[in-house]
């Protein structure tokens, strides 16, 4: 009896424990099947995207083809439906099926599905770590030489290039710099500051008027967004994070410790809202939309949502200049994202390229931009809303590609943003930098 009971106990425990492990194992299993069993082949890795790897079995003329388009922007679904309708009318032999995965699942679900070519003939991807891993897996078809590339502003599609090949075309243009309430600034006679002292003085004035100078979503997107303009002039070298990953510079060096010290200064002087580390995106956005905060430390992608929350808002963009005016190299930060690529394993690569070509036409890109409130990388687009026009003005300014997205190792990216949270949580800039550098060293094998 005792042994039976022991056996039952053991079985119960084993079942529960196996269940605990199988969560990861089953995902591995998915990956396996997604690769059509290929992982059994322990041969050296294939090279990054090349059109020669793509099956050339495009649908013959007159034959119907269905292409799959996957992305993460559920909020753009209506705009895309209308555009896809036009595309299908123009190309009656091509049907576009769209699947939207939430951005937090996009890394896991969508990325794995791309591997067998069953979905995502056309797919969107993020620049930086995700672009690097998809390129490494050889899942981008080479778009180099495609005629539609000339529809884009050349400098804005560089993020989709690797080893001289155009693997993806960024479609959206975002400025990752804070939004400010222009009416509040005007009311207190403030202008966008041109140096660090001016930024602190403006923040002090706003605080003395009973406002929250900067609404900072420290619990989620804030550190990853605000770090970009904060570091852009402290480390003007556009390759600074590539050098960090190569072990040629450290987070304990002056450029990052200074950036962390400036974050600490803003926090210690009470220029962020109380308990900023517990505030999420929506909370900070609400403070700004309600007029309780003068600056929102996110980016231009938030303009449309803010306007929806408060149609009276008069919003503009500014970037904190963390050095003296004469030392400032950059005026702001831009990101080109929502990078459209053609799956190297697509059975309909020509139809997929035709769809991207359609999206790159200035009238279609304009329709998308004006319907979604997002600026685009396509040339000569006419924007209709004040917010989009405000953002478009920034294309003439000297901006730099988002430094955070130049970090290709996601763990290093997290170590960098976590060091900001650590400082706001009370650690000294030096200690936070040391701890983050220890993770970097581990990741790069130093």
């Amino acid at each position: 009896m005792r042994y039976k009971r022991k056996l039952v106990n053991l079985l119960v425990a084993a079942t529960a424990l196996t269940a605990a492990l199988s969560a990861c194992g089953s995902t591995s299993g998915n990956g396996n099947s997604a690769n059509g069993g290929a992982p059994n082949d322990a041969s050296p890795s294939v090279s990054a995207g090349s059109s020669s790897e793509a099956p050339s079995s495009s649908a013959p003329s007159g034959e119907k083809a269905t292409i799959s388009f996957i992305h993460w922007r559920g909020e753009d679904a209506k705009a895309f439906d209308a555009i896809i309708g036009k595309f299908e009318r123009e190309n009656p032999n091509i049907t576009v099926e769209t699947q939207v995965f939430p951005s937090d699942q996009y890394q896991s679900t969508a990325q794995a599905k791309l591997a067998d070519g069953s979905v995502g003939d056309v797919f969107a991807s993020f620049p930086g770590a995700q672009f690097a891993s998809i390129a490494k897996a050889g899942l981008y078809a080479d778009l180099s030489g495609a005629a539609f590339l000339s529809n884009f502003l050349p400098s804005l599609i560089e993020a989709g290039q690797q080893d001289g090949k155009q693997l993806a075309v960024p479609y959206q243009l975002v400025y990752n710099i804070p939004i400010y309430n222009a009416d509040i600034f005007a009311k207190y006679g403030l202008e966008p500051p041109k140096d660090w002292d001016g930024f602190l003085a403006a923040a002090e004035k706003l605080k003395s008027e009973g406002l929250v100078p900067i609404a900072f979503p420290g619990a989620d997107i804030g550190p990853g967004q605000f770090m970009n303009p904060m570091v852009m002039n402290n480390a003007p070298d556009p390759d600074i994070f590539a050098k960090l990953e190569a072990g040629e510079t450290k987070l304990t060096d002056e450029w990052w410790v200074k950036t962390l010290s400036q974050f600490k200064e803003l926090s210690d002087k009470g220029y962020f809202q109380k308990d900023a580390l517990g505030t999420k995106d929506q909370g900070a956005g609400a403070l700004f939309a309600q007029g309780k905060a003068a600056i929102l430390a996110t980016g231009s992608y938030q303009l449309a949502q803010n306007k929806k929350n408060n149609p009276e808002l008069n919003q503009k963009l500014l970037a904190p200049i963390t050095v003296s005016e004469d030392q400032a190299v950059y005026e702001g930060i831009h990101t080109t994202t929502f990078m459209l690529g053609v799956n190297a394993k697509s059975k309909h690569p020509e139809e997929a390229k035709k769809f991207i070509e359609f999206l790159s036409r200035k009238d279609i890109a304009g329709e998308y931009a004006n319907a979604t409130g997002q600026n685009v990388t396509v040339k000569d687009v006419e924007y209709t809303s004040d917010e989009l026009k405000t953002v478009a003005e920034w294309t003439d300014k000297k901006t730099r590609f988002q430094p955070r997205f130049t970090i290709t190792n996601a763990e290093i990216q997290k170590a960098v943003t976590s060091s900001i949270q650590a400082v706001l949580g009370g650690k000294s800039p030096e200690q936070a930098a040391r701890e983050a550098q220890a993770i970097v060293d581990q990741q790069i094998g130093k």
Partner: protein, 290 residues
Amino acid sequence: MKPGKRLILFFLPGTVLYLALFVYPTLTGLYYSITDWDGLSPSYRYVGADNYARLAEDIVFRKSFANNLKFMLAVVLVQTAVSLALALQLTKKNKRTVALRALFFVPTVLSSVSVGFIWTFIYDPSLGALNGLLEKLGLGALTQNWLGDMNLAIFSVAAVQAWAHIGQMIVLYVAGLQAIPPELLEAARLDGGTRGQVFRKVTWPLLAPAAAIVVSYTTIQSFKAFDLVFTMTGGGPAYSTEILSTFIYGAAFTNGTFGFASAASVVFLALISLITYLQFRLLRADRVSY
């Protein structure tokens, strides 16, 4: 076919499902743990024990493990004690106790992602209901930055985990309590036992099997509490709520180191096995039969 052999057929569907959905993925995980597969590439290399060696030195893995222990201890203590206290009050069968049991069970049927989002709003330091309530009650001094304080965040999430699962544990305890023969309790009382003595000498030892299930289930649950942490804090601020499951997710899907993540899963399994085994040993010592 003999009836005995026919009975074996009844085990077949479950066994097949178990093998296909649990055993096979588990073994696959073990296999990938000795490779450098990135989760996407069609090929990979065998790296032997490299992933395990890396894991032993990984700073974030160690932090995650320490956080997971804190989280587990908080959840096991609170969930076990509170559910036992409530179960003792809800053992009698009448309309009131049945209604209360159902009420306590409601959070269990909610999706953990919904629970995470609801509590994130409740915990919001400026707009959240919890700080608002404390202010209204004149307890403003107790308001906290529940998810933003690096020392407090893990316990704030643990409290939600306990809140969400207490109802489930009440059911297990109530079943255990109702299985205790009333004559044993009555005899103990007639012998002059106080309430405390009756609980300590009769109820608790007979409840040990249920307690063992509650504790081991709660332990495994708290190690697997991915959804709540992911939705409420994402492991932050500054890794203060990073636990093993979020670490494994990040390694696999964000950083594209699937082989390394599989090795972490294997270690994760070994740790849960060890802790569960120790708990069984500990609780079996209290077990008696009359």
